[in-house]
Amino acid sequence: MFNLSVAFRFLKEGRMQTALILIGITLGIAVQVFLNALIMDLQLSLVEDTVGRSPHITATMPDDVPQAAYVPPDGRPALARIVSNEGSLKPIRDWKSVEAQLVKLGAFKVIVPVAQGSGFIRQGEKSLPVILRGFDLERADALYDIRRRLVAGRYEVGGNGILIGRELADKLRTGAGHSLRIAVPSGASDVFPINGVFDLENQALNESWVLVSLNRAQILFGLDQGLTQIELQVPDVFSAAGWAESLRRSFPALKWLSWQETNAQLLAALKGQGSSSYIIQMFVLLSVTLAIASVLAISVVQRSRQIGILKALGMKTRQIGRVFIIQGAVLGFIGSLLGSLAGWGLIAMFTAVQKANPAAGLTSISVRSGAVVLSILIATTAGTLAAFFPARRAARLNPIEVIRNG
C-alpha cells in the first residue's frame, strides 16, 4: 500500500523521465502490435488467396495398395503384384451416405460432389490436355465463385453443354456459341457446345478446366453413379488438417487430404514469416525491457537520498525493492496500454490509406484483442523483470551513506 504510493510518487515526480520512457515503450509496443496484426493479416490473405477458392479437404478413393501375390510361411510377403489404376478411375460409390453424414456434422461450409477426369482437345495439329470437371454448378459456385466471373455466355451446363476458361478459349480461338470435340482416355469422344466462358484469374485453371454436368462426367468416365472426389470447405481454413484427421477415422475407406498436406511449401513460407515476425517482436520487447531497466537504474541513483531516509525510518529491504518493482510493472503496463492504443491507431490509419488506394492489395488489417492483451501482459511482466536489478540495488543501499553526508 505504502510501497505503491511511494512508487507512484517517484514516477510522478520524475515527470520528464517517466514521460520519455513511456513514449519509448508506447512506440515499441505500437510497432509490435501493428506488426503482429499486419503479419497475421498478410498471412491470412495469403492463405485466403491460395485456398479461399479451392477445397480445404478433398476425399478420393485410395490408390490400390500393391497386393502380396505370395506370402511365405514366415508371414513376410516375398512377391508383390503392382496394380496400376491408370486410365481407369475408381469411383466413390456410396457417396450419398457419406455426404448425408458430412451434412449432419454441420462443420462444413461447402460440400461439392465431383466427378472428373482428363481429356484432350484436338484442333488441327494441337492436342490440348484438359480436365473435365463434372459437378452441380449451383453448389460448386459457393466454392469456386464462377458465376460472378463468367465473361461470356450463360452459367449453365447440362446435356453436352460446357463452360471453359478464358485462356483455353483464346488458345482455341473459340467462344460461347461454338463447340469443341473432346476425347477421353477410354477412347470415347464427343462434341460439346460451349455455353459460357469464365475467368477464374488463374491461368492454369483457365487453360485446363472444362466444366460439364455431374451426370455427363459420370457417363463419360464410366463412373456409373459414383464420384471421383468430394470437395469440402471449413469455416476456419487452419482447422482443415484437424478435420481431415478426424474424417480419416470416421471414413477409413476414403482418402482425405487437407490443403495443409498438399501445400507444404506455403505452410513452410507462412511459418518462416511467422517466426521472423516473432524475432522482430522479441527484439522490440527486449529493447523495451532494457530501456525500463536503465531508467530505473538511473532513478535509483537519483533517489538514493530518499531511499536512505526511508530505510533509516524503518522501511525494510523488501519494501524498498518493491517500490522499484512496482515502478517497472507500472511503466510496462501503462506503456503497453498506450502502445496498444497507438498500434490500433496505426492500424486504422493503414487501413484508411489502403482503402483509399485499393490497388495496393491487402485492404484492411484488424486488431486482435487477444494479441493486444498478450502484449500488455508480456510487457508488464518484462517491466517487472527489468526492475529486478535496480530494485536489488535500491534494497541494498546503506542508509548511513546518505545520513552521514547531507
Partner: protein, 258 residues
Amino acid sequence: MADIELEGIRKVYGTAISTVALRGVDLTVPAGEYAAIIGRSGSGKSTLLNILGTLDRPTEGRMRFEGRDLFAASDDKLAEFRSGTLGFIFQFHYLLPEFNTLENVLLPYRIRHGRADGAAVRRAKELIEKVGVGPRMYNRANNLSGGEQQRVAIARSLINAPRVILADEPTGNLDTETSESVKGLLRAINREFKTTFIIVTHDRHIAAGCDRVIEIEDGSIKRDLSTSELSRDETWAELAPCNCREREDGRLPAAPPA
C-alpha cells in the same frame, strides 16, 4: 525500564586509511532520560548517535535495548526496531522532496502501518501546528526554508510516539526564538511521555537544559555530567570554555569558580 546500554563500542572507518571514530564507548541511558552529547566537530558524536540509532553497525562492541542484543539481529529486524521504537531528527534534516509537509510527517506512520487513518492524520496535523509550520501543511518539502524543514523533521520524529528520540543538531538552523520553542517542545514531550532523548548539540543552551551531558573527545567519553545535582549557573560554568565563564544570563559571576 527502557535502558539503552552500550558496551565497548568501537568504530573504525576505512580499510586503507583507517579512522578510529569511536574507541571503546561504554554508556547506559536509562528510560526517560533527557541527555545531550557534546564535543568538537569530528569527535565522533554523529557516529555514536548513528550506532545508537542502529543505522550503523559498530566495528566492535554490543548494544542492548531493554536487555535485547540489537546488533545480533538482521537488517530487517533492525528496520522494524527503528520504526517501532525510535524517532530521528537528522543533522541534515532529511525530508523527502517529493512529498509535502503532512505526507513527510506521516512517513514513519505509513512505513509501520501502511495506511494513515483519520486519527493519524489528525495527530500529524497537531504536531505540525505544534512545531509552528501549520501554514505550510501542504507545501512540498523542497519549497520549505531550512528552519521549516528542521521543524517538520521534528514533527516527523514524533508521529509514531517513539520511546527514544535521537536528534543530531535539532536546532542547528533555527533562530534563537524558534530554537527556544523547539527546545521547549522536546522537553515537554520528554516530560509528558517519558520519551528518552539523546541530543547531539553544539548549543550550550540546549546542553545546559538536559539532565545529563556527555562530552565526547576524540572518540571517547571525556566527561559524563549529571546536571540534576548542579545549579543552572554551575552547569553553565562546567560547560563553558575556560575563556568565557559568563553566567547563562550573560553576566560574569561575582567570584571566579574555584
